[in-house]
């Protein structure tokens, strides 16, 4: 049995990347909304970090969907998922959420970038201008709905796997929460990374705000991971076997302890605490911390997907 090929393996890494990208998009939107609401207000569109979130969110969600479609055995038939719905299917409901989410996402981007776009239009394309102004009037509604949708999307990435009742590690009520929180973390990290790459101020209020939320979030994520595996081990039977298979020695054990816990959680936590006391944030600090978080979440998705399918009931 090797780490990437074993009996019973159905879903491979493209699904992990899809889950990663969907969660990342949801997280970027979530933090974009919080940033605008609590810190930036009307002038949000000038912030590099809001621009980063507005860039990342649509790109990642579209890329994720693209991967999902290419991973079908009949990619050209993907439209059937959009035409036929099944209310008991997590995937079907997720696709529904994804569609409305994308719609709302573009409406939100239109609303917050209304002012610069209208200026740029200089009175040309009256229809565009009028449409954007309408969007701006409805911004609060759009924002509220989008916030709920982004949280649903983040949780959906976990529900998709937890519906697989034959695998105790996946069929676990904590999984959607874990994926939601880690998805939000990855969204925050991506927003920071792209923000500073776009020459945003690494010591600006946006970075301070997001870092302020990140510390408790990493702690929560650690607590959830602990609950997740403690719950499995205490349930005994195949759940226990699954947990020990995943965490024990071997490739995926290394990925978990070194990659997910070490690189993805502990180091960013340490860096965050350090930046908090040293008060001055530099480009390299912010970028490296964010990259570690991102890699950690990507590894977590792969770790759960593969080890989850390793042990059946």
């Amino acid at each position: 049995m090797s780490a990437f090929h074993f009996d019973g393996l159905v879903w491979h890494w493209p699904i992990a990347i899809y889950l990663f990208l969907a969660g990342l998009s949801a997280g970027a939107v979530f933090f974009g909304i919080l940033l605008k609401h609590f810190k930036l207000g009307k002038k949000a569109y000038q912030s590099r970090f809001i621009q980063a979130a507005a860039l990342i969110a649509p790109v990642t969600v579209c890329a994720g969907l693209g991967i999902l479609v290419l991973d079908l055995t009949k990619p050209l038939d993907f439209w059937k998922i959009l035409v036929f719905y099944n209310s008991t299917s997590v995937m079907s409901m997720g696709v529904l959420v994804l569609m409305v989410y994308q719609l709302m996402l573009f409406a939100w981007i239109g609303a917050i970038f209304c002012t610069p776009i209208v200026q740029w239009c200089e009175g040309r394309w009256g229809l565009v201008t009028r449409g954007l102004i309408k969007l701006q009037q409805w911004e609060d509604v759009i924002t509220g709905v989008l916030l709920i949708l982004s949280l649903s999307l983040g949780a959906y990435t976990g529900f998709l796997l937890s519906a697989l009742i034959g695998f105790p590690l996946l069929n676990n009520p904590v999984l959607p929460v874990l994926f939601l929180v880690s998805g939000l973390t990855s969204g925050a990290a991506a927003t920071l990374l792209v923000g500073v790459l776009l020459k945003g101020n690494p010591n600006g209020i946006e970075v301070r705000f997001i870092h302020g939320i990140e510390i408790p979030m990493i702690l929560i994520e650690m607590a959830i991971l602990f609950t997740f595996f403690a719950g499995l081990i205490l349930s005994g039977g195949q759940s226990q076997v699954a947990a020990f298979n995943a965490l024990g020695e071997g490739f995926w054990g290394w990925i978990f302890w070194g990659g997910v816990v070490g690189l993805g959680l502990t180091l960013p936590l340490a860096f965050n605490l350090w930046m908090k006391v040293s008060a001055d944030r530099k480009f390299a600090y912010v970028a490296v911390t964010a990259s570690f978080s991102l890699v950690g979440v990507l590894l977590l998705r792969n770790f759960i997907l593969y080890t989850g399918q390793m042990t059946g009931t």
Binding site: V10, D77, M91, E139, D140, V141, L164, G312
Partner: protein, 231 residues
């Protein structure tokens, strides 16, 4: 600000109300459907595999392949052999059948995004509608019995369908049942008390796999008496 706040609250309220009404309605619809299916249905097909009669000859697999055009490399039914148990010359093997269990509460049907995996209300057979299947493989991952596969020719999900499209249409027994030389397989209508299936179920002790998952499978196994005792 006040107006937009009100907009926002109205929006959220509507959304939440919509979601809760939807889930309650679904719950009601689900419980009604669940209750009615069980009572009105007069045909519900099931199968018994007698592990004491099975000799592991694989005639069932071959017959299924021929009749249902199953390509090489995949199979709708597999006979798993464990053993040998005991000392030579008193050795024995255990054979267990692995194929679709035609779950009453089928996880594959629940997760399929397009409804391509479905349970036929007239016969209780779980089938795959090839035209609707997009090959997302969600059902393959969701089936706790790991009996589904992608058919390399059609590129759609495939598995045992109790020969619904072939033998049953011609009024015959499933191919594997007809091919079995020791009559280890019995197929029939579980609603018909006179059927050989019901008589077998009432005369031999049987078990079903992984019933704790709530799948209510319709493939029964008569357990081997030979073999080792495992704790």
């Amino acid at each position: 600000m006040d107006i937009s706040k009100r907009h926002f609250l109205t929006g959220c309220g509507t959304l939440i109300a919509g979601i809760s009404i939807y889930s309650v309605a679904k719950e009601l619809a689900g419980s009604e459907a669940g209750a009615s299916v069980d009572q009105t249905q007069t045909i519900k097909y099931a199968m018994v595999h007698d592990e004491n009669l099975c000799i592991g000859c694989n005639a069932c697999e071959q017959a299924c392949r021929d009749v249902n055009n199953v390509p090489d490399g995949v199979s709708r039914v597999v006979i798993n052999r464990t053993g040998p148990f005991g000392e030579y010359p008193d050795q024995s093997y255990r054979f267990s059948r692995k194929s679709c269990q035609h779950c009453e509460d089928a996880p594959c049907v629940k997760v399929c995004p397009t409804g391509a995996a479905y349970i036929d209300p007239d016969t209780g057979i779980v089938g795959v509608n090839q035209d609707k299947c997009v090959g997302c493989q969600y059902c393959i991952a969701a089936c706790p019995y790991q009996v589904r596969f992608i058919n390399p020719v059609t590129q759609t999900a495939d598995k045992c369908d109790f020969c619904r499209e072939t033998q049953l249409k011609q009024g015959k027994q499933p191919a594997c049942v007809e091919a079995c030389p020791t009559h280890a397989l019995v197929f029939g209508n579980i609603r018909d008390p006179e059927s050989e299936l019901v008589k077998t179920l009432k005369s031999k002790p049987t078990y079903r796999a992984k019933t704790d998952l709530g799948t209510r499978p319709k493939l029964f196994h008569v357990p081997t008496i030979d073999g080792e005792i495992v704790l």
